[in-house]
Amino acid sequence: MKALVIGCGRVGSTIALTLHQEGWDVVVIDEKEDALSRLGESWRGAFVVGHGMDTDLLREAGIEEADAVVAATDGDNTNIVIGQVAQKRFGIDCVVVRVLDPARAEFYAGRGMRTVCPTSVAIDALMETVRSCEVPRLEVL
């Protein structure tokens, strides 16, 4: 099983490391060479420097043989476009896209894209935690 992870920030690097631990063959793409350090010294997967919108670079990274693509750069629109390129040009079924803006995440989810919105996830978790606190209830007179 081969996965392409585009964007090697906090999120992308952790996903890459976890998939790698789970036995996936992982290729990481990031614009900055420095991002490699996030994967740690023991990283044995591949790392390609370049922009995830560059089709030649995606091919070089082996997108044609990939079973999964994760778009996790810090740009919502970049992730949305990369996700569609992976889906439509390379025919990859498992494309997961990080979109911070809940509105755009919902719109593209409605068009068949697997979007994950960390903002909505955080709001839900925070709300649940607040509700679970034991605070004195307001007395209704």
């Binding site: 919108m53 560059d54 089709t55 740009g75 919502d76 629109n77 970049t78 949305i80 476009v81 569609q84 390129v85 439509k88 040009r89 803006d101 509105a103 755009r104 719109f107 068009r111």
Partner: protein, 220 residues
């Protein structure tokens, strides 16, 4: 006519200004504070500050009316693609026009069905190619909707087709010769037309088949 212009840089601001001058209704959207403040002096209530890929910003600019045209003219190709998709598919704006900043992203705009697009670099290169004599194949016209393009090929002395009839050529599938220009006179290319060194040939073909055509006509 109502037009929303996303992106208040040189291109967006000049387009907005030109539209206002011919009496159209315009809302310009600019994200950067410094630019917005400068634009506000000139455009007053007709410029709004915000990220034009955010739904509430588009809605505040009146995209639900919807406008007759959405112009995505920011300096960021990903943003322009998302703006066009939102405008077309969520808000049913009848016409979108997108600016392509990096010509390498043209394929992505095409993949997402965003058309028409305008790319300054490509337009300039097309004009330059026309002037460079050693360019053996020149792009004259792209018919994006039809997925066809028209190119001009210069037949030279070393060309394997010099002296051959058009009907005998093994052209790439989907490619046709349109006309032959010789001594300043153009003729429609028919089966019996014989090609000669010095001819300028117009051909119509699918984009991406240029190399095949070049091999047949010029063997390179």
């Amino acid at each position: 006519m109502y037009v929303i212009v996303a992106g208040g840089g040189k291109v967006g601001a000049n387009v907005a200004r030109s539209l206002l001058r011919i009496g159209q209704e315009v809302t310009l959207i600019e994200q950067r504070r410094d630019r917005f403040e400068r634009l506000e002096n000139e455009f007053e209530h007709q410029v709004q500050r915000g990220d034009a890929t955010e739904l509430f910003v588009l809605e505040r600019a009146g995209i639900t009316r919807p406008p007759d045209i959405m112009l995505a003219l920011t300096g960021d190709d990903e943003d322009n693609m998302v703006i066009c998709q939102l405008a077309k598919e969520k808000y049913l704006v009848p016409k979108v026009i997108a600016r392509v900043n990096d010509p390498r992203n043209q394929a992505h705009f095409d993949l997402l069905g965003i058309s028409p697009t305008v790319c300054a670099t490509s337009s300039i290169m097309a004009l330059v190619e026309h002037e460079v004599p050693e360019h053996d194949l020149i792009h004259l016209l792209e018919l994006r909707k039809e997925n066809l393009e028209i190119v001009e090929v210069q037949i030279d002395r070393d060309s394997p087709v010099a002296g051959k009839r058009v009907e005998g050529l093994k052209l790439p599938e989907g490619a046709r010769l349109i006309s032959v220009m010789r001594d300043g006179q153009a003729e429609i290319a028919v089966g019996s037309t014989t090609l000669q060194a010095g001819d300028q040939v117009l051909a119509i073909l699918e984009p991406g088949k240029e190399d095949e055509l070049r091999r047949v006509l010029l063997s390179r």
